[in-house]
């Protein structure tokens, strides 16, 4: 049961009394070697869990930063194998940091759910977020993942009302992801005041930790969300750092990890009323 890694991590964080920081990085971006260096550096930079984007040609819920990152990775020929191999390499040195793959249905349909689940588990993946797989369509995928101990992590959003929530949570495990804004990734800004009651509502209904993502770009915003959520996910802002560093011919790994460090510190100290240095 690799899902156990997610549960163990959240239990430890709960004991520490703080929220998790979850960076999102796109597999294979900007290139395979750099992406692996970034991945390996994330825990030391303050990542409690890691989301790895599994690129799809037609990512309907992503804003421009992640769309471009996916196309950069695909243009370099990134495959499913190319997404999983670096995770296996990461696992050789890190047995405790959970890794969640985030992507879209078609590459999984194409591989076949059972084969995909087996390969992902072997590589050391702990859970999946599949953006275009609502609970109504989730059973075949959830069955395959469950058989290999992987969590299927469900998305909830401002449009998920109390009546619908039980449908979404029916097969939820690991944690629940709250999409903090109605919109695509990395465009609108999340507002902690409106996020708080929703996180509480979902936590109560699910009995699971609630991670908040979409629209968190700065350490200040991350800290505000960390006060009310169990985990804070930052994606587009990190992916943009990759693009910027490539553009300016700077060291991509250093730039990304330093951004992760500042965000992680903000999250780490949020509930103690301290400001990150």
């Amino acid at each position: 049961m690799t899902k156990a890694r997610i549960d163990a991590r959240f239990a430890a964080l709960k004991a520490e009394g703080r929220a998790a920081f979850v960076p999102y990085v796109m597999a294979g971006d900007p290139d395979a070697a750099t992406a692996l260096k970034i991945l390996k550096g994330l825990p030391a930079a303050g990542a409690d869990l890691i989301e790895v984007g599994f690129p799809f040609s037609d990512p309907m819920a992503e804003g421009p930063p992640i769309q471009r990152a996916a196309l950069r990775a695909l243009a370099k020929g990134l495959t499913l194998r190319g997404t999983l191999d670096p995770i296996a390499a990461f696992r050789e040195g890190d047995q405790t940091t959970p890794i969640i793959l985030m992507g879209y249905m078609n590459p999984l349909v194409s591989r076949g759910f059972k084969d995909f689940a087996r390969e992902a588990a072997e590589a050391g993946v702990d859970g999946m977020i599949v953006v275009d797989c609502p609970p109504e369509e989730a059973d075949p995928l959830a069955d395959a993942l469950e058989a290999h101990g992987l969590a299927l992590i469900f998305l909830t959003s401002p449009t998920t009302d109390d009546k619908r929530l039980p449908t979404v949570l029916r097969r939820a495990s690991g944690f629940v992801y709250y999409v903090s804004v109605a919109g695509v990734t990395g465009v609108k800004e999340a507002d902690a005041a409106s996020v708080a009651p929703n996180v509480e509502r979902i936590r109560k209904a699910s009995g699971l930790p609630v991670a908040v993502g979409f629209g968190i770009k700065t350490p200040e915003r991350a800290a505000a969300i960390a006060e009310v959520a169990d985990a804070v996910v930052v994606g587009s802002a990190l992916v943009d750092v990759v693009a910027e560093a490539v553009e300016l011919n700077e060291d991509v790994t250093t730039r990304v990890l330093s951004k992760v460090d500042s965000l992680a510190k903000a999250v780490r100290f949020a509930r103690r009323g301290l400001t990150a240095v």
């Binding site: 037609d58 819920a61 078609n106 275009d132 998920t160 919109g183």
Partner: protein, 406 residues
Amino acid sequence: MNAPVRPNDYAAFPDAKGRFGDYGGQYVPETLMPLVHDLDAAYTAAKADPAFQAELDGFLTHYVGRPSPLYFAERLTDHFGGAKIYLKREELNHTGSHKINNCMGQILLARRMGKTRIIAETGAGQHGVASATVCARFGLPCIVYMGAVDVERQKPNVFRMNLLGARVEAVTSGSATLKDAMNEALRDWVTNVHDTYYMIGTAAGMHPYPEMVRDFQAVIGRETRAQVLEIEGRLPDAVVACVGGGSNAIGIFHPFLNDEGVQLIGVEAAGDGMDTDRHAAAINGGRPGVLHGNMTYLLQDREGQITEAHSISAGLDYPGIEPEHSWLHDVGRATYQTATDAESLEAFMLLSKLEGILPAIESAHALARIGDIARDVGKGGVVVLNLSGRGDKDVNTVAAHLGRQI
């Protein structure tokens, strides 16, 4: 996938989960799911409401200009020397294609739901024009997403949409064609969930769109069936239509699904040829997968990444196909052939010269196969072709391919 079973009643689909066999479904992000359920409930109620149907029928008659004629193409028939060829003249509808049938239905539904902002995607621009038209008629703001590549090759339609008061957003993401326009429209919808109605132009997308668009287009087949019975006193041997997303085809096929003696033939765009990778034939050159909310045949690579469609026709330039066609193909109720760019151009010229009708380059794909089909059926038989749109919009494209300046 399991071997498909031929059903007793082809017209009884989709099922309650929006499925045609394995195809269809609702693969959309959670933010949209409540909206999709609302739409499903609203459409189900409207469908059962005689007042809604009466309102729609009134606009179809007096605004769209229905029924469209079923025309015996005598010279085309003589040219091929086979079965009698009839053309269902959807190109005579207001705005010049079948697209308005669906837009009229959806705008009345959007009004009924109290939506105040309409978004649409378009490839060739015909659905965009039809959307802009009904929005103008009912005084609603309209934003049309169109791939930047298509904006360039369909300039007259962009201007038409502007004249009708719509805003055209050129989409530069991805391959900047129809599929990307659809991605961008979905991103708009997920961002503006409270006031926005997404008017999908083809019978693709998540349930209930494939069913709803089909129902609004099925007026084509209902009229055709009644007209051919009146004129010929019998059902046709074959019904033929071009297939991109497939809304004109499913519209004319659907009322014939349970008439098993009637062959249903769709024609996909083969672009440069099926022996190249530059085509748009999802069924003949793709395999099942999930895109834009439904499971269907798709053009994709080994890794499940969607590949670009290629066709002279912007309206057929889509890597998927509506799920009901995928199912009809699997169960064998309909067959799907292909026509290349070159064959379609030739058919475009042929109909123009023989019948005085410029067909849309989309419809010309079906025309490219009609000779073979008419000869196979043979003298004494009857075939019907859905002439889904008019070709005025394509004269620049055709001229360019002929190396002519206009």
